[in-house]
Amino acid sequence: MQDANLQRRLILNIPTAFLLLFFVLPLTALVVLSFWQTENYKIVHDWTLMNYTTLATEGAYITFFLRSLVMAVGVSVTLVALAWPIAYFIVRYGGRYRIIFSLLLVIPFLSGEVLRLIALQGMLGPAGLVNGALIRMGAAPLRMIMYSNAASFIAFIYLYLPLVVTTVYLSLINFDFRLAHAASACGANRFRIFTEVVWPLNLSGTIVGFMLAFIPTLSASLVPRFLGGPNGTLYGMSMAQQFGESGTWALGAAMGVVLFLFSAVALAILSYGVDLRRTGFTGLGRQ
């Protein structure tokens, strides 16, 4: 009995301590720092709302945030649109190779993100695979994919597609396709079956996939740094600059708090549409 209690306590306390130490404590430090100031690389411990006022009134930071928001929504919607047919194909026609197909999606994760970005930079750059081939064929290089927001967009799609496909796949694999057959038997056409049966019953998995792409895109710093070009600075990149070269940590902390709050609110709103039992993450299978 005592052993069971100890076990239960350990199971609860270890992750709680971990979360407190590595999540709550740094976040609290970030919040406190965001109400201070930095001056000539020194922290001034005077309580102020100046950093938040700066973020709310200075056009530059609003622009970075809006750019990131548009990018994150665009990337996530595109990813869902791309992931659905891929996941659907694997689930419906993958047969005994389904598991192999789904494992193939994980392969890009075996290399680091920076490595994948550098490879992508080489591919989309002026002397890269795409433009190199175009130049060799006598055509003009595609300027829009070189150091631009379009290049960042392509990179985000490349980076997060496996995540979204896996999520939709997990949702679909738990979906009872007999429901679709029943709808068909009742005379519903394919479009109606999809919009009224398949899509709504897999909405949870789709929303999880959407969020898994949306949140990292909103805070991304590496992609715009490597591929964004002079007009591609996003919110996360600007935030990283505050902690790096410019040493304006307090403003960076305020940017972090704003990002955290926005992501939390977005997560909360979208969570209304999530029924975890249908996402495939519960291990409960079909209910």
């Binding site: 530059a60 002026p126 150091y147 070009g229 002079p230 410019s246």
Partner: protein, 383 residues
């Protein structure tokens, strides 16, 4: 209260505790076992580091940074006790010393310091002396400028005599600058102050003109200029290999850089790459930015074995053979006189006979207000 009985369990617990604690328990008289350096990655020569480690029976632990402000932040946050050696350039060592992050050094304990080029000898190179006490605060290492590397087949050499070249629509979409905000702003400031004629007017700090100390009016003009420049840039490169590719492929015809890529391009050409007439303009008519990378010893290092070890490391780093290798690997000019062990091509390539030009360049420095400069840079990025 405590169970003092000697059981197998208590022996095992005591043994395990002692074993776990051993790495942290060292007698005070023990020799230092690590040398921790905060440095630029380009200067790390693995074979030399291994030789140093074996010769001194220590472990060399490097941490890397890109810009000076980043190193300064790391040093301040970690405290000077986190590192034994640190690198910095321009006027940054003086700032570190003022803030008590560095200790004074002794040139007599570093024999290879006698091999410096005349401009970098202890008496001549005042940038590495504390203005108040006159104490020497570090050792010069490599030097260079933030000049313009260009393809002379596409950009006429006389166009690079002025900074206007980097803001000319003639090269729209074929220009590139580094992503470092301090140098972008300071270089644009040279052009702006030249246009405004404000250099000879009273300066905000009451000292002679320094492109890192700007008035609000000058900063506003710099912001406008950098926003105009944005549409002309292909990208702001993050690293030298990217710029190398851009220049070699012809996508970029002129870029501001530390001459390292310029040398790598010439070396590549000598090794069989397609010949392109790449050149480097060190200083423009509006002036130029210069840097001298240094080795500094932090204030956490006390006299004794650790200080001797630091001196020994610096001595190795500035020895002619190692300096030559570093010049080749990192593509930079060295402060040590290597002319007797270099051929004519190397003398030209590494500007060995032009080191006196460093005196005409504005040294890298701390921005007068990092907050204002950050705002300018953000406005440029968002525009």
């Amino acid at each position: 209260m405590f169970d003092t009985k000697l059981t197998r369990r208590s022996v095992l617990v005591a043994g395990a505790t002692t074993a776990l604690a051993m790495p942290f328990v060292r007698p005070s008289w023990a020799a230092p076992d690590t040398v921790r350096a905060l440095m630029w990655e380009a200067y790390l020569l693995p074979d030399q580091i291994t030789a140093f480690e074996e010769a001194n029976k220590v472990k060399f632990v490097p941490s890397f940074f890109d810009g000076n402000s980043e190193a300064y932040n790391k040093l301040r946050v970690g405290g000077s006790k986190e590192f034994d050696l640190v690198q910095a350039d321009g006027f940054w060592p003086q700032l570190y010393f003022r803030e008590g992050l560095l200790r004074a050094v002794d040139y007599s304990k570093v024999p290879n310091a006698s091999g410096y080029l005349p401009e970098f000898e202890a008496e001549a190179f005042k940038v590495l002396s504390d203005p108040k006490s006159g104490k020497k605060i570090g050792f010069p290492f490599c030097w260079g400028a933030y000049g313009i590397t260009y393809d002379a087949g596409k950009v006429q050499p006389e166009r690079t005599e002025t900074l206007e070249c980097m803001f000319s629509s003639d090269y729209s979409g074929m220009l590139s600058t580094s992503a470092r905000f301090e140098e972008n702003i300071a270089l644009a400031a040279l052009l702006v102050t030249d246009r405004l004629g404000s250099r000879d007017k009273p300066r905000p700090d009451g000292k002679p003109f320094n492109p890192y100390v700007l008035s609000d009016e000058e900063l506003a003009e710099v912001e406008k200029l950098l926003i105009q420049q944005k549409s002309l840039l292909l990208t702001r490169y993050q690293d030298n290999p990217t710029l190398f590719q851009l220049l070699q492929s012809g996508a970029v015809v002129a870029a501001t850089e530390f001459a390292q890529v310029f040398r790598q391009l010439l070396t590549a050409e000598a090794q069989g790459a397609a010949p392109v007439d790449f050149r480097h303009a060190l200083k423009m008519k509006e002036g130029g930015l210069g840097w001298v990378d240094t080795w500094l010893v932090t204030s956490g290092v006390q006299d004794g074995a650790k200080f001797d070890l630091c001196n020994s490391f610096i001595d190795l780093m500035i020895s002619p053979a190692v300096m030559k290798k570093i010049g080749e690997v990192a593509g930079c000019s060295t402060t040590v006189d290597l002319r007797s062990i270099s051929n004519e091509t190397e003398r030209k390539l590494f500007l060995m006979d032009r080191s006196n030009e460093i005196a005409d360049l504005f040294m890298f420095d701390q921005p007068s207000s990092p907050e204002k400069w950050e705002r300018v840079w953000s406005n440029v990025q968002a525009a």
